[in-house]
Symmetry: C2
Subunit: 109 residues, 2 copies
Amino acid sequence: MNASNTQIQMRKGLLEFCILHIISRGEVYASDMIDELTEAQMIVVEGTLYPLLNRLKKSGLATYKWIESESGPPRKYYTITEDGKAFLATLDQTWESLVHSIQFITTKH
Amino acid sequence: MNASNTQIQMRKGLLEFCILHIISRGEVYASDMIDELTEAQMIVVEGTLYPLLNRLKKSGLATYKWIESESGPPRKYYTITEDGKAFLATLDQTWESLVHSIQFITTKH
DNA sequence: AACGCTACCTTGCATTACCAGTTTCTAGGC
DNA sequence: GCCTAGAAACTGGTAATGCAAGGTAGCGTT
């Protein structure tokens, strides 16, 4: 039970939330997402991201289309679906509730 | 991939954080903790709490002593250790960082 | 002594993130 | 054409955690 492991565990499930937000703003592919997450200090590796994207696709929350690159292999550009938008709205609420709950517990005299 | 499951996943690792905060305020036993968490709208069941408390004990972050009840079997009253206080301080920082990261991602134009 | 309640604990399952690779595809040099 | 380098997507295997559904034991009441 060390701090780095706890950090990982705290982030569990929040990645899905972050990815949905990122793809809700426009078409991006995996490397773009990693860049954005890294900028926000949420380090993610490819091996984590790809299974997550496949889960989102399989659940109908996200979709993608192949777009050829000017240099290199084609890329999967992801976008959010209508179902994804609705789901994201509930996740926003869940996150708000969670923040309030933690606030309540951590600030109690 | 439904909302309730996501809710569960989002809370992963945060329970440990909450429990440490609760026992840092004084001696409590399991039912007290569940009451406090429920009041904060963090639903927890016994099967989740007891293994977590054993982990905290085994890691030296928390300790307990048996106290007899006026009505019923004796109870384990938990308190935080010095190591637990130090660990809790790092968790406070981790939580702050996490909130900032999510804030950064969810509010980006 | 039989029952119910309380408190503590255990087992099996599902989910998720990480690590360490592998495969596929394109571009460019020989 | 052939080979290498690099980018992009993907794939087991492992570890950690929460949940559901139980089980065990002590205490008081009837």
